[in-house]
Structures are given as structure tokens and as C-alpha cells.
Point group: C2
Chain length 354, copies 2
């Protein structure tokens, strides 16, 4: 079943309002989920409502938060999300970074006391759409990435998003977890009864496994690189860098020690970090965008290893999905539709999807 993007967003807003969100907050949150759905990033779109419903049941989300700016300077700010879902405080944070960057040429905003914020790429893109280079990072409360030589997970999938505006071309748009793969890839392999690649995941003893069932049970992902031989210490280093920017700089809680240090807290207090850079701080107007276009052209023109597979640039698969889904609608699998229906029924939200 395919659903028009606007119809799906209305359904999301209905549910979020039924959960107690203001109309304005529901609209912003739905827009951030739509960012992922329209680009084919199915794990970070409307499917997140099943996760959010669970977090709501556990009392971990404040749906009527008083998001506050705790510290403020011409180029930096610190925002307290008051245990909101991450989309609203993160949208405010990146908008604040964009505004400050418009004045100063560079800005960074950190967020604490937050929750899951959806796709990191949505926030980096906000900056690029304002003509700036944008970076977005988040810590994650549930552990999955195991350090090189380790047996237990010590980080979430700690993503890095980066976006930069072109002129002829759309933006360069990178949005990547610092794990080798996402948990979703393990589920897909199990569903199809296929082994997983050695280097994707580990068993409970920290050893490489190719069995998706064992990998899902142990919930242990490798850092980008997969194995020590292929550079997993680099992915591990990047995951730690993201944690430092989002947790230590923002004053959030480090997920690996949270339960020991805050045993009675139902909140997770994850952090985010946003950076905006104005190309005009360094280049004359238009030069940066022109040079970025040229790089994108050169990459698209790169000689191919397989004549049938063109070389892609970060954001290309998402742009293609956006074109298709914009005209045909968002595919919503039966199982997800049933979950959404049950979520809507439980909170008495109006049902919009037929």
C-alpha cells in the first residue's frame, strides 16, 4: 500500500497530538519523519512511531516540554530539551545555529536532556537549504557499537550527518551511522534466511558471527570498518568523537554508564550537536557552490568498476527515492499499517489511512 506523503504526515500529526503534543510541535516532528520517509530511509520515518509509542508507555518522553536556551553567545548556544522527543528541540537548535551563522559566519548549538531525534540528515539539510554547510550529530541511549577488541557495546549507532549546498546540483548530503550496518540489515537477513557478512555483527562473546539470529539476540554491531584488519578502530574512534560532541560537550549522559549512575531516572538524557558554517566566511558568493558542483560532476563521471553501476554521490539514492515517492506515495507495509492502526486506536487518534 502506498500513501501520499501529506496524508501520512497528517496521520503522524493526529497521533502526536493525541499523545499530548501541541499542534506546532506535532507539525515539526511529522516534518522530520517525512524527511526520512520521502527519501526511502524507512527506518527513520513513520515507522519510528512504534518506538516512540513504547518510550511513551515507559514514561520517558515529555510531550509538553518547555524547551529552554540555557547558555547563549553570538556563536554558540546550549538548549535544554526538557525530555522532549528530539525533533522539536533539534529543529530549534539547528535554526538557532543557522540564525547565528547568518550573523557571525559560524555557529554551534548543543542540546541536552533530549530523546531520539529521527534522521540526523534532516538537521544538516536545514543548514544546506539556508545556503550553509551543516553538520549534525547525536548520541543514542541504547548501546550497539562494540569497540575494537571489546565484547560489550559501549556506544549507540552515533550518526554523523553533513550537508553542503551546490548550485546546479542539489546538496551533497551524507547521513551515516558510525556502525558498519544498521540493526535493520540484520533483521532483513533473518527474514530472508540469509547469513550476514562477516564483520557486520558480533556474538555475546564479542566474536564475529554470520548468523543473523545470534547477532539480533546479542545486539552487538561492529564500528565502521567491521574488523581490526579493515580499520574498525577508525569507526570506533568516530563513534567516540560523536559521543564526546553530543554527551560530554552538551552535558548529557553517557549511555554506557547511565544505568549505573542514574538508576532511578526514567529519562535517558541524550545529547545532540549541530554546527553551521557559512561558505561566505571563506569564499566570494557562489564560488563554493560552483566548486562543489564541479566535484559532484567529476565523481559522477568517475570510471566505473562495473559498467552497469554508476558512481553515486552521497544523497543520490535518497534523491532518487524522493522523486519516485513524491509521485507514487510512500510504501507502507501491511505490518507497519497494522501497528499504526493499533497505536492510533490506543490513543484515540483519528484514523486517516483508509
Amino acid at each position: 500500500m502506498r500513501v501520499a506523503a501529506s496524508q501520512l504526515s497528517r496521520q503522524v500529526e493526529e497521533i502526536l497530538r493525541a499523545w499530548g503534543m501541541s499542534a506546532e510541535h506535532a507539525r515539526i516532528t511529522a516534518a522530520r519523519l517525512h524527511h526520512a520517509d520521502i527519501r526511502g530511509i524507512d527506518s527513520h520515518g513513520v515507522a519510528l512511531l512504534t518506538l516512540y509509542s513504547q518510550l511513551r508507555a515507559e514514561g520517558r518522553i515529555n510531550f509538553q516540554p518547555a524547551v529552554r536556551v540555557l547558555r547563549d553567545s553570538p556563536v554558540t548556544a546550549l538548549i535544554d530539551a526538557d525530555h522532549a522527543l528530539g525533533q522539536v528541540p533539534s529543529t530549534q537548535a539547528m535554526q538557532l545555529a543557522i540564525d547565528k551563522c547568518g550573523q557571525s559566519g559560524l555557529a554551534a548549538v548543543a542540546v541536552r536532556n533530549s530523546n531520539h531525534f529521527g534522521a540526523a540528515g534532516a538537521y544538516a539539510l536545514m543548514a544546506a537549504e539556508a545556503g550553509l554547510v551543516g553538520l549534525a550529530f547525536t548520541s543514542v541511549w541504547n548501546l550497539s557499537i562494540v569497540p575494537t577488541f571489546g565484547a560489550d557495546p559501549m556506544f549507540g549507532t552515533n550518526p554523523i550527518a553533513f550537508a553542503a549546498p551546490g548550485k546546479r546540483h542539489r546538496v551533497f548530503h551524507l547521513d551515516m551511522a558510525t556502525s558498519t550496518v544498521a540493526i535493520g540489515k540484520l533483521r532483513l537477513a533473518e527474514l530472508h534466511g540469509r547469513p550476514i557478512e562477516p564483520g557486520w555483527a558480533l556474538d555475546a562473546a564479542g566474536q564475529v558471527t554470520t548468523d543473523p539470529g545470534i547477532a539480533l539476540e546479542s545486539r552487538r554491531l561492529t564500528p565502521l570498518g567491521g574488523t581490526r584488519q579493515l580499520g574498525s578502530h577508525k569507526g570506533y574512534g568516530l563513534a567516540a568523537m560523536v559521543e564526546i560532541l553530543c554527551t560530554m560537550l552538551a552535558g548529557a549522559w553517557y549511555a554506557a554508564t547511565r544505568e549505573a549512575r542514574h538508576p532511578d531516572e526514567q529519562h535517558v538524557n541524550i545529547g545532540h550537536f549541530f554546527l553551521a558554517i557559512d561558505p561566505k566566511s571563506f569564499r566570494a558568493a557562489g564560488e563554493f557552490e560552483q566548486d562543489l558542483d564541479d566535484m559532484i560532476d567529476a565523481l559522477h563521471g568517475c570510471r566505473r568498476a562495473d559498467p552497469g553501476q554508476p558512481v553515486l554521490v552521497a544523497g543520490d539514492p535518497e534523491a532518487q527515492a524522493m522523486e519516485e515517492r513524491g509521485s507514487l506515495g510512500i510504501p507502507v507495509p501491511e505490518a507497519l499499517l497494522a501497528q499504526l492502526r493499533s497505536i492510533a486506536a490506543e490513543c484515540r487518534a483519528a484514523w486517516q489511512l483508509g
Copy 2:
């Protein structure tokens, strides 16, 4: 043969001065090479003089540069390196970022018209030693990283360095190429007659090779991740991000199109990008460092996959090498010693190494 670090630095300074550098510039450049030698990063220490000697012979380096600040704001600056070796303009650039960050809490400085700057980690560390979070990036003029699905290299090894200060612990210190491995690892495998890991390098057609001879001949490295299945599109995305920060933002030349666009130029015009973030923009004094210490402790305490191999934190191997080399001196292999002797003889630099 082992040489005391100070003695090795004196030899480096003698050669650089014989090449026409001022005493001050030679001292700074030698200090940046020493950073790598003392930490066991042998590829980026005194061994670089063989590369620099070659670049000098090709007329690509200006040893008496007029490094200038082209653009300047309270939080950003753009530096023209005047075709200097990268160490002096990069040291100035990071120092400028540190000074601005001390005033404003955040600063970014870009450099254009530069050359090889040694180890990226040296500049990130400057910020951490000033109590700041530091990031350093550089583009690279000789191509090696092949995009996912591509057959030709489109980026250099485009490194990312990140450093953050702890309190009890030394700094967290990440310095990584965005390729899976460095060219040096291919040379080592060839030397030992061992095959290389599948996923390290490609042949001239862009196909995976395990033959180090073929890999060295084709000079085609994979992006971090190694293969599409193990996430090489992420390493490729990071390499492109580094290129955008260093080349497009700084107004340097993109290496993959340089020869076509600037066929008569002997200079390579690579760029660097430096960022400094003051933790006190977001946290009370000491809180950041305390939280970082806690994370480092937790990582060191992570359960091990192999009882004999502790979990390391970025910078640990370098700290260990620093301890050993600080007391025993820097090992200088015979072949390198012979090269240095010949370089010194050629430019009539005093010979300091016995």
C-alpha cells in the same frame, strides 16, 4: 639505530634551513614532524623529508613564503600559505583558531595554496593542549581513494583528526585517514611476501586485489569500510566531506581535476580546515574533562573479546610509543638514515646523526 628526539629534530632543522627556510619556520616544521616520530607514526615524521626533497626538486614548495591572512572575522579566518610546506601555515592557522576561540568560544580557520602538512593529529592536539576540542582536516594532492563503484581514485587519503582534553587522562586523540589502510601497509605486505586483506586495495580496473604488488602498481585504496557490503560508501562520504571542507571552503584545487584545469601550474594548492570549540561554551569549567575521563575509564574497562588484548582508546598506542621513544630515542632504519645522509649532503646541511 635509535636517535634522541632532540638530535633528530636538530638534523631536520639543519636540512630545512639549508633548503632556505628561516630558523623559525624550520623549528616549527621540525616540531610537527617530531609529533609523529615520538608517537610511532613513522610515515609522518622525519621520513617525510624524502617526499619533501622530491617536491623541492620539482619546484613545488616555496621555502620563504609570505603567509597572509586573506579574510578575518572574530570567529573565522582564511589563510593563504603562499605555497609553503603545510606545517608553518597550519600551525599559524590552528593558533589563530585557538586565539579566536579563547575570545568567542568557537572558531574555524581555512588554509589555501598549501602543501603536505604532516600528521593532522598534531594540529588537533594543539587545540586540546589549550583546553579546547580541536578538529583538523586536509585535502591531499595525490589521488588514492576510489569511490564505491568506481575504478579510478578521486581523493587523497583525506584525514580527519579530533582531539579533546581530559583531566586525569591525557587527551582523547583520533587521527585517521578516511581510506581503509595507508599505502604503507601495502608496502609492508609486499616486503614480507604476504597477501593483503581483501578490501584494502583495488587493481587498475577497480576490482578487489589481494596482491600487494598489483595494489602498489595501481595505487588504488578503498574508502574506510573496504567494500560496499561493509560500508565503503560511508568512508567515501567522509573523504568527500573532508574534500569539501578543505578544498571547496578554502578555495583550494580539487586534486582529481587539478591537472586538467591547471595544466601549467607546478603548485598543487591543497587546503586545510581547522576548528576549535571551547567546552566552556557549553559546560562549567572542568565538567567536560571530568565526563571525558569517565568515558575513557569505561572504555578501558570494557569486557574484552580476547582476555590478552585490552580495549584501547584513540591515542593509546601513540601514548605508549611516546613513553618508549622518549626514553630510548626514535628508531631510524638504515635505509632512512642513508636517505637523510644523502639529502643532507645534497643541500650541504650539517650532519648531526654521527
